[in-house]
Each structure stands twice: as C-alpha cells, then as structure tokens.
Amino acid sequence: MRTTSRIRWWGTAGIAVAVISVAACGSSSKTSSSNSNKGKTLKLGAVFSLTGAGGVYGPQQQQAVKLAEETTNASGGVDGANLSIQVVDDASNQTQAAQQTQTLIQQNQVTALLGPTLSNSAVAAHPIADNLKTPMLAVSTTGLNIVGTCPYPCTYIFRDSLGEATAIPTNIKTYVASANPKPKTGVLLYPNDDKFSVDGATAVKQTVTDPAVGIQLLDTIQFSKSDADLTQFVNQGVSKHPDVIFITSLGGIPAKIMTAARQQGFTGQFLGGNGFNSAAVSKQAANFGKGAQSASAWYLGNDFASNAEFVKAFKAKYGTDPDQFAAQAYTGVLILVDAAKRAKLTYTDLPGDRQKLRTAMESTNIQTPLGPFQFTSTHDVHQTIWVIAMDGQGGFTLVTSVKPS
C-alpha cells in the first residue's frame, strides 16, 4: 500500500517537474528576436586555476573577469542582454580543467569560454570545447601548439595571450639591435620538467642561431623546478663569462637565478620571457633584477584610454594594480562581448549562437588594455608587443614597443 502511494507521489512530482520545464522552455522560445535583447542573458564560462600551482595567476584573472562583467552590464550589457560569467576553479589539474569545461558547456549551457590558466590544462580542455563546437579563448597560455598547429582540429580555439614563441624572439632581437657592444655569448638556464620552461628554452635556442642575432650559447644548464638551491647551476653558468644569461622559467626561479648570478659577480644582461612579467617576480629580484628585459603583452604605464580606464577601474575595485594576467583576462571578455554584439545572437539557438560567435571573433578589431587587438588567421595574437625591463623596485619601465608585422 505504502509503495503504491510513494510511486504515485513520485509520479505526480515527475509530471510537475516536466510541466514546469516545458513551460520554462516555452517561455524562453516565445520571445521573438528584436534589436534590443532586454531580459536575455549571455552566459559565458571561465576555467581558471584559483588554487594549486597556477593559484598565483588565477585569482587576478577572476578579478579582471568580474570587473569586465560589471562594467559591461553597467554600460548597457550586450546590446541589452545581461552578461553573466561563471568562473570555476580547475585546481591547476588538467583532468579537472577538461571536466569543468565539459560541465560548463553541456550543463550550464554557456555560449563561450575563457581559459584555462595553464598550458597543460589548456591542452586537455581545449579539445573538449572544440569537440562540442564551443568557442574557447585562452587568456594566459603561452605554450606551443595551443592555437595554429594543434594535435587536433582547433577551429573553435582562440588565444589573446602572447606566446613564448613570439615573445622570446622579439625580446632577444630588440635587445641585440640596441645593445652596444653587441652580445657575443650567452648561457641558457631552465628547469627541464616544466612544459612552459622547455617551450621557452626551445624558442631561445632557435633565436640565437638567427644570423641577425648571432649569439653563441656557451652552455645550456638544466635543473628541476623542485630544486631548492640553484646556486651550483648559476655558478656553472657564470663561470663561462657569458654576455647574456637567458632564463625561461616562472614562479620564484627567475628571481633566484638573478640574485645568485649578481652575487657571483655577473655584470651582463638577463633576457627572458613571460615568466619575468609579473610584479611579484620584479619585487623578489629587487635590485638584482634591475634591467632584466622581457617582451610583454601589456604594460601598466601605457596611458592610452582603453588601458588607463582599465587600470583605474581595477585599482578602484581591488585596491592594487592589475598585472598582465588580469589585463589579458579583461581583454578576453571585451573580445567575446564585442563579437557577441556583432554576431547578432538569437539567444534561443545555442549551437547556432556558438557558431556565429566563433565567426564574429575571427574579425575582431578593437581597442583593449593590450592596445589595438586582432586575431591572426590561426586565431593567435596580433598586437603591439611591449618590451619592458625591471626597474629594481618591483616595477617595470618601457624599453620600446614593437608593432605587429
């Protein structure tokens, strides 16, 4: 008896749920397309490393994305539609990144995605988004094979972060062109168990053999990212008396190497990649890092309107200066919002909207905190590159800017 009544209860509940969901679907599809999208919502997702190894970058990205969401909605949204960005944490783990990407697409029904923070996670998550035909814009990954020559057809994947394969050659060539006397010799130091660092080292090795550069690598010194003491490796490098020390690494490693090298009497130049471009690294290296030069996608001190407004708004909301990761994540939202406006989304046909958004993204041409921004034909960055140097006090000075070719 009890069983039958329970079955009946569940049956009633089930019918109620079905009726409500049908009603919900009905009401959303009833609204006809008009120029103003009032009452509609553009749902985006972001997969960032808020915890774990990438936890030093993810939180700024989240802050920037939330700021962009706020400013967009305050200034009329996406042609009237409300912008809603859900940020999830992948714990710097590639499995979680892929899983969260799948969940955001299939369950939360987002139109497009930002992220993931780290290159390793991107290689796991991007194929999922591509497979489900949803645009995904990488805002901080700098490794090889993220866009362009991917191991899978990456037609829905874009990147607004400056790859090491562009940043490192640009930096080295800029330095060689202006240095007097010209550097003849160099030493390369990098941890061999980290994809970001090894990708960067590959770019250095290729660039130095360029006839326009012509630097002879006296030694290539590899260590592990978990090595606590790098003094012996730096010793080995400094003892070769190079003109330049190349460092391709991130986190605390560049500052450790700079400190040890200066203490051992190295007077030459430090050149590096994206790993230098964080205020934390500059602070840690302090006076030992003064003059260390790298190519950056963004420069804090740029006073053109799109950057000045971003820096001011970020500072007002969070009380600190933004960094490169924040600027690139903020730019990511601007790119998606601009594309959504141009794409004339229906807000009812999700697969169609994703397709339209992807097509619109390809013709992006907007002003961003990074400067004027476009995508290349392989969905990579086409922007001005800012060559910066550490100022010895935790900040950076602008050396020069390089227009995209």
Partner: protein, 323 residues
C-alpha cells in the same frame, strides 16, 4: 550540492555532463586495484606511478604520438589494443627485473626503493629521451576522449572480479599468509619470493593498463602526471578504503576522486574540507572503510550490512509453493 543531487537522482543527465570525470574515476579505480595487489601480499610498494607512465607512454608512442619536432616513432601506428598490450608486457618485464633486487626489502625501505624507481624513471629516462617529448610532453592526436570510457569501466569490473576470485585461490591464501607473517608463511613451505613477485608484476600490469587507458582521455601526456604525488594518491585510496577486500581501495578511489567535485559548492574551503574528511576517516576507521573484524576474520559491519541487505532482498522474492 546540486552535483550530488543530480548524481543520485538524475544519473544519466549527470553522466552527460561529467563523462570525463566518470572516465577518471574508472582509471583511479584501476590504479587502486593495482596497489591493492601488492598491499594484500604485505608489500608497501610505491612504484605504480612509474608503471602507469610506462603504460601511458608506450600506448601513446605506439599509436602515433608526436613530439614538438615530429612523430615520436616514425611510421609506427599500432591499434590501441595492441599498443596497450605492449605497454603492459613492458611494465611486467621492468617489474620483474627491478623486483629481483628490490623485493628483498621490507616495509619503509621497500617503499623508498620503489618510490626511487618512479622518480629515476621520470628524471632519468622520460625527461631525457627524445621519444617521450621530454619536458614538453607527448602529443596524443589519437585520443579517444569519451569513447574510451566504456573500456575503462569494463576493465575495472572484470579485473576487480578476477582479483576477488583470486583471493580464494592458493595464490590468494599465500599472499594473505605472507602479509600476516612472512617467516611463518615460509616455514609452511610457501615460496615467499615467488608469490611476492607475482603480486608485484600483476600490480605493475594493472597500473600500466590504467596508464594506457587514462592517457587516451587526453591529447597530451606530461611527466608531471606520473609523479610521487600520484603514487601517494593511490596509497591514500587504499588506506581510506581498507585493504582486506579488493572493493576497499576501489571504493576509496571512487570516493576521493568524486569528493572534490561534490565539495565544489564550498568554493574557497574546498581543499580544507576535503582534508578534514580524510582525517576524519583515518581517525574513525583506522583500518579503512572495509575491514575484517578483529580476531574473527569476519567482514566488518559495513560489509556485513551489505550482506544483510542482500539476504533480505533475496527473502523478498516469492518463494516457490511447497509441493
């Protein structure tokens, strides 16, 4: 919370949005099974992350994996199943060779030696051999993604069943005897060295299978996926689940893989609560979730509870009328 509600009440909707997690749970279950084999025979070995790497790299290289400079092994395109078998065979061979000296060690010394094997494999071979893509990782253009999930779960169910049946055989009894007291087992005429080696090699083979299957859920494999942390994770699953029954470590793996996702709603406190739950389990059930009752050798309450449910379920079936 929504995650748990959906998992319990709408498993198909849940599965649709969490296929990769389901795949990962299956892989972790297989890894738990692999470490159970050695723990059941009383050996604390932590080499399974290394065997997992052997399985993963073999299966990707032999199915046409590419490094940043081109194909890892030019002209080699074996079917996935064959590549996987090669990986498993290679892991078995390596396990046998390193097992000869290493299995003479006991307790924490064995743990350190086997952990050393994993790190030596990573730093010595994987990061220095061109064929593995070194620190840049190995691209896997033939990843199966979601279609790889059924084989994973099939393998887990079949192997768990076989392992369970194995505990009732001569080998299973020998393992249990060695675990309880190695000297007494030897005195009874059990060939201790041989049975320990069998457990070690079988564990390596299951770990290599898990590595191969898991590698094909992703387009890139990277040496950082097979570190010491991964070896310790397997041990934690076994400790939480208990090693008296094969189901223990598997349940431990399933629970602990799903737990961070269940706790996602706690946001910033996720890791903290995850840790507190782990500590609570170890405090309140020091022998794991599934144990034998002390002294009697009978299954503990959790397992007996299951037996009770099964019996009462069976008694509900209509009994044939007496003739």
């Amino acid at each position: 919370m929504a995650f748990l509600t959906q998992l319990l009440f709408h498993p198909f909707t849940w599965y649709h949005a969490h296929q990769l997690l389901a795949g990962q749970i299956g892989v972790d279950g297989l890894l738990a099974l692999s470490i159970w084999l050695t723990l059941y025979s009383g050996q604390l070995t932590l080499a399974n992350a290394g065997f997992m790497a052997i399985g993963a790299y073999s299966s990707v290289i032999l199915t046409g994996g590419t490094t940043s400079t081109g194909p890892a092994a030019a002209g080699v395109h074996l079917p996935l199943a064959v590549a996987m078998l090669v990986g498993i065979a290679l892991a078995a061979l390596v396990a046998f060779v390193i097992g000869l000296p290493v299995l003479r060690l006991k307790g924490v010394f064995l743990a350190i030696a086997t952990l050393g094997f994993g790190e030596a494999l990573r730093y010595g071979l994987i990061l220095n051999l061109g064929i593995t893509g070194k620190g840049q990782g190995l691209n896997n253009p033939h990843a199966t993604l979601t279609s790889g999930i059924t084989p994973i779960w099939l393998a887990l169910v079949v192997l768990a069943f076989l392992a369970w049946r194995l505990t009732g055989t001569k080998t299973g009894h020998a393992w249990a005897a060695i675990r309880e007291d190695q000297l007494a087992a030897a005195a009874q005429g059990i060939d201790v060295a041989r049975y320990k080696m069998v457990a070690f090699v079988l564990g390596a083979m299951v770990a290599a299978l898990a590595g191969g299957l898991g590698a094909h859920l992703s387009f890139l494999i990277d040496s950082n996926d097979y570190t010491f942390t991964q070896a310790i994770a397997m041990l934690i699953w076994a400790v939480v689940g208990g090693i008296a029954f094969v189901i223990g470590p598997i349940v431990g793996a399933v629970l602990l893989t799903i737990l961070p996702e269940v706790l996602r709603f706690t946001q910033d406190y996720r890791q903290v609560i995850n840790g507190i739950i782990l500590i609570a389990i170890v405090l309140f059930r020091p022998d794991g979730l599934f144990t034998r009752r002390k002294g009697t050798g009978n299954p503990s309450r959790l397992l007996r509870g299951w037996a009770f449910i099964r019996r009462s379920w069976a008694s509900r079936r209509p009994q044939p009328a007496p003739p």
